[in-house]
Amino acid sequence: MDIVIDKVSHRYGQTEVLDDISFELKAGEIVCIIGPSGCGKSTLLRFIGGLEKPTAGQVLVAGEPPAGSLNPLTYVFQDFALLPWRSVEGNVSLVLEDHGIRGDRARAIIEDVLRRTKLLDFRKALPRQLSGGMKQRVAIARALSVNPAVMLMDEPLSALDSQTRELLLDDLIELWTRERFSACYVTHNLAEAVRLGHKIIVLSRRPGRIRQIVEIDIALAERAERGAELEQTQRHLWNLMREEARAADMELSDVA
């Protein structure tokens, strides 16, 4: 299943947030969206997931989702969005219940996704007992349980400390190598973008426009060893963004 973002523009009242964004997200591909804060990256992700509507342009879905996909477009949130009153397995089963999956079938799926995210020993734990990295793994397990065609990840590692981030990044790469999911990954962290992205879309400051689309041909699994080449790409990205990031930092925020 591919996703086509077609000339999307958006404004909140008088403020232009996004201007004429077009790109394509192919099956099995990770597209990273980077840009200075307030450039509308998260808004763009909400359009792709159908949680908000752009003022102009459209987001199209091409092709059928894989068979057995319960929720083709599935989010992973920055703040994990786990229900604090449900255990790890309860949080996963929440999204299965509405599809009528209960009992043994649900148990099998839950066990499978918890194994894949290395959480099997923590199935009865409550979110407050888990570290940030584990919480995000629960959120990823929950996303995997509905068999998504595209994962929409909104700064999934930004709330974590740098060591946990590194561990989870490795987990994500391992997961992708095994399952070849497609993802739209919003981040402000350039290192994450060059480690995960097949395609990196650099947005400008408000109103967000596409400044450049950078493609990286190195296989994800090899990237950890080829630091020098990635370093170069990362520096290139930073050069694209530096001035804008500085300007964005000095801006008064009067738009929510």
Binding site: W85, L94, R128, L152
Partner: protein, 283 residues
């Protein structure tokens, strides 16, 4: 600081403090305090000492027995009440009014509160009414309630019902408003139905606020119960206290007030237990 200690840092910590300057002293400790510690025995002790002093004062004649009867006298009044069997008549009547009034007031309150929290139209229509009626002391409406619901149980239950309804509405819709929007967005992003989002995300998320609303409404209910029973009731703790007051039987009055206090404590303990059970997911 000696030079050789700096040159070999690995052994430095193990060395005896021979190189310590003569005027070295520990950093003055300034932390600590401002922390709640638990003293389990103190609260019963305070009660015992207070009642003991009171008893002593009454026996020695320092406290006039007409102004304030001794605790032992109040206790024997209470024993009379138990022996005559009237305790259960009064307590039963009071508990019935309290339970029915509070239960229906809370149920309606949670229902209306959820409606206000979930539907903009209900909010626009009902919230002004709730805001206008909430500050009215419900006891002032008792004469009206007597006309509407009769002098019997109806008017008393209605007073408690109305008194508990409004705080519950306000606690409930406040709780719904405070549910993390991102959790709701998460539910939507996974394609959960509206009903599922309400049942599995909004109501559990609003439960802490609803339960603390219950705490408030339960104490309001007890206050209103006594007030309503003081106006035209044959039985009930409030009627018993009123009667004791009219006869200047201050020992019975103290006994009645003590029963109310125990009733209040029991209710608050029960709500505490309910919070422990339903909100065990909180730290």
């Amino acid at each position: 600081m000696s030079l050789d200690a700096a040159a070999d840092p690995t052994t430095a910590p193990a060395r005896p403090a021979a190189a310590m300057p003569a005027n070295a002293r520990p950093v003055p400790y300034r932390g600590g305090g401002f922390k709640v510690r638990r003293f389990r025995l103190v609260s019963p002790l305070v009660f015992i000492v207070l009642i003991g002093l009171w008893e002593l004062g009454s026996r020695s004649g320092v406290i006039n027995s007409i102004a304030l009867p001794a605790p032992s006298e109040a206790f024997s009044a209470f024993q009379d009440l138990v022996r005559s069997g009237m305790l259960w008549t009064h307590l039963g009547a009071s508990l019935y009014r309290l339970t029915v009034g509070w239960l229906f007031g809370s149920l309606l309150g949670v229902g209306v509160g959820l409606a206000i929290g979930l539907f903009s139209l209900a909010r626009a229509g009902l919230l002004p009414i709730v805001s206008a009626l909430f500050p009215i002391p419900k006891i002032a409406l008792l004469p009206l309630f007597i006309v509407w619901f009769g002098i019997g149980e109806g008017s008393k239950v209605a007073t408690i019902l109305f008194g508990t309804f409004f705080p519950t509405v306000i606690a409930t819709y406040g709780g719904v408003d405070n549910v993390d929007r991102n959790l709701i967005r998460m539910g939507q992003s996974f394609g959960l139905s509206w009903l599922s989002i309400v049942r599995k995300i909004i109501i559990p998320g609003a439960l802490p606020a609803i339960l603390s609303g219950f705490r408030i409404s339960a104490s309001i209910a007890i206050v209103l119960l006594v007030a309503a029973e003081m106006i035209g009731a044959q039985y009930g703790i409030g009627a018993y206290i009123l009667m004791a007051g009219a006869l200047f039987a201050t020992d019975q009055l103290i006994a009645g007030v003590a029963i109310l206090s125990v009733l209040g404590l029991t209710v608050s303990w029960a709500i505490g237990k309910a919070e422990q059970f339903f909100l065990s997911w909180r730290a």
